[in-house]
């Protein structure tokens, strides 16, 4: 009888905890609803030794690409629902389209397309850590090259 009472007593906090936890798990199951995509457009060149202080946080990353000068041309942020595209204008008549495809094991899958006018230059699918970034570089621009820092954050 005592054991039964104890069991009954124990089920109360258990039930309450589950009642609180189920909506949380439900929300977790559905996952983040949108993705914030950020593009930093950087001009890298060898014309000077200037390093844009706004890029100080990613200095070590940029140093992988051995140019002497780095300047942030623009920053763009867009929110995109899953499976929807976010389009960004890139200097030199180019454009970048990013489609968040899915989220698994704390990593986002991004489909990225770089276009020169209507002509596709690159199609790639990248798995990225949430709030992480990767660099896409190479297109020539104003005596240097463009480097795009692409990052994504779930919302």
């Amino acid at each position: 009888m005592k054991l039964l009472t104890s069991l009954l007593r124990a089920t109360i906090p258990f039930s309450l905890s589950l009642a609180l936890l189920i909506p949380m798990l439900d929300a977790a199951e559905k996952g983040p609803q949108t993705v914030q995509v950020s593009i930093g457009t950087i001009l890298a060149s060898n014309e000077s030794d200037n390093f844009d202080p706004r890029l100080s946080k990613m200095k070590s990353q940029l140093e992988v690409i051995k140019y002497r000068s780095y300047r942030l041309l623009r920053e763009q942020v867009q929110k995109a629902p899953w499976q929807s595209s976010a389009a960004f204008e890139i200097p030199g008549g180019r454009s970048l389209t990013v489609i968040p495809e899915g989220y698994r094991n704390n990593r986002l899958s991004l489909k990225v397309r770089l276009l020169q006018g209507e002509k596709p230059l690159l199609d790639t699918t990248v798995q990225l850590r949430n709030r992480g970034n990767f660099l896409l570089g190479g297109p020539a621009h104003e005596g240097g090259v463009l480097i795009l820092s692409i990052s994504a954050t779930t919302q």
Binding site: K2, L3, S6, L7, R9, A10, T11, P13, F14, S17, L18, L21, M24, L25, A27, A28, E29, G31, P32, N46, S60, Q61, V64, I65, K66, Y67, G92, N105, N106, R107, S109, L114, K119, P120, L121, L122, D123, T124, T125, V126, Q127, L128, R129, N130, R131, G132, N133, F134, L135, L136, G137, G138, P139, A140, H141, E142, G143, G144, V145, T154
Partner: protein, 181 residues
């Protein structure tokens, strides 16, 4: 030698309280048998003592042991030092029948740990905490493309070698070739 009343009066209370030695007590006793005045004083003192005892006994007669003791015991347990109280609590709580609470607590705790991975992105024990991006597929549409991953700075770079087609205004200068990476 017979005692006088004055002497007896001085010793009467001590005689009543049995504080006299045997010979003195006997002498006072003898006097009391013979002296009605001292005997009356004795009676009054005894009566007073009885009245006092009886009145207190009556007032205390309703005092039951059980409630008295349970209150004392409660206070004793309250007053124990913290480490003794803690040990008492541990003994009480770890009584097998009471351990049932631990099962749901452990379950809920594990569920919370597992759900935190989902609820708080970036937190957790799961895989994929590296910043290094993984390139699943890549298509340069005829252009040369290189992928470089640098673990020290956790950097992933996709590089497009665009100059080979010579269509860009600064193609000859921008070719990173061996300049990059």
């Amino acid at each position: 030698m017979k005692m006088h009343c004055e002497e007896v009066q001085r010793s009467l209370e001590a005689w009543l309280d049995r504080e006299l030695n045997q010979s003195e007590a006997e002498r006072v006793g003898s006097h009391l048998l013979e002296c009605p005045l001292c005997s009356e004083d004795r009676r009054q003192l005894e009566h007073l003592q009885d009245a006092l005892r009886n009145s207190l006994e009556v007032r205390a007669s309703g005092l039951a042991f059980e409630p008295f003791w349970s209150e004392v015991r409660r206070r004793i347990l309250e007053q124990k030092p913290w480490h003794v109280q803690f040990l008492d609590w541990v003994r009480f709580t770890l009584y097998p029948a009471r351990l049932t609470w631990a099962i749901p607590v452990v379950i809920v705790f594990l569920l919370l740990i597992l759900s935190l991975e989902q609820l708080v992105p970036g937190w957790g024990l799961g895989p994929g905490t590296s910043n290094l991006a993984a390139v699943e597929s890549i298509d340069g549409h005829g252009l040369n493309v290189a992928v470089f991953r640098e673990s020290k700075t956790k950097t992933t770079v996709i590089w497009i070698f665009q100059n080979q087609e010579g269509e860009d205004e600064a193609a000859d200068e921008s070719a990173p070739g061996d300049n990059t990476f």
